[in-house]
Symmetry: C2
Amino acid sequence: MVVRENFDNKLQELEEKMKAMSNLAISSLEMSFEAFKTKDVELALKVIEEDEVVDDLEIEINHFIIWLMAKEQPVARDLRRIIGALKISSEIERIADFGVNIAKSTIKIGNSNSLVEITSLEKMKDISITMLQKGLLSFLNGDITIAKEVGELDDEVDKYSGELYKTITSYLKEHPEETDHLVQLLLINRYLERTADHITNIAESAAYLIKGQMYDLNS
Amino acid sequence: MVVRENFDNKLQELEEKMKAMSNLAISSLEMSFEAFKTKDVELALKVIEEDEVVDDLEIEINHFIIWLMAKEQPVARDLRRIIGALKISSEIERIADFGVNIAKSTIKIGNSNSLVEITSLEKMKDISITMLQKGLLSFLNGDITIAKEVGELDDEVDKYSGELYKTITSYLKEHPEETDHLVQLLLINRYLERTADHITNIAESAAYLIKGQMYDLNS
């Protein structure tokens, strides 16, 4: 039993690292969106700089997993759990990258202004953060109900994104002088839609761990 | 030695599956680009349909890897190789998804026309395919020189993409009536740039296997 206890401790250590990484990704999204809303280029630059911490943590998690596998030779559910952690940490790294993308768009937007209606971007950001919290929780707790909720929230984000795409492109036709600004808004819309997709992948990894089969929660 | 031989056979089986998956991704990019160039909506729909084969192959590879790990309990370089295969198959699946994205843009473009100069899109597609072939080869052969070449080719794609972004947005300012069409071209430009990024991740996984440390070939 000491062996098992030791392994469980290591698994818990791994899960703590994943939680830390998820919190960093949430902070990247929150900070980059704040920078976008307030046109705060300094804050946007900070998001870009701090992304290195997420990248380093992903590498650390990869090393930890390879070490843990070699040392403990896990099988069955333990093995699926560790493979899941590996896949999920790679998704979280990409989610933080979308924060960086939003920050870069913020810098390109600079001080330019537009009257196009984009309040749904903030809703998409908020839903994405809820999704990330739920996605990780469904993995950590092995809760399939929460994993399915993530899929439903992704549908909401897709709906907002599709509507906003139409709003921005219609507005662009009337205001070609705002092209540079509006194209960045189209990109931010896409980044948030993609963020939600990557989080849905996390929920799918959770579902795979729980049920032992793949789900397509995007459909 | 029989045990080792058996394991090597399994590894080879895994690598054959990865090659098959890579060929499917290349075919997705080639076909979707052909559909885009010739405005062939039927062909675009075929790309979207056939993506399921890539998704299924990724799931098959995942199952195979989990089975192989549980059965053979690999360590050291063998373990890194299998983890690399897991990560790379997930990148290849996403590369095929960009083919699907190009196909979807093709359908949205429909029969509309534009005179904007976009010949560099085809160059980006061709370079990406070369990159994918080299990226997989660097992993399979453990060749760090080829992995570094992938990083250099990614710089070329980034350069084309940056220039084309400027070309299309400048043209858009003068031709707002072409907004729908041009926004899809901007998206295709981005898909190809992202395709090359994901392939660079493959080369980074190869470099990690070879040298035992992470490289950032994007920088």
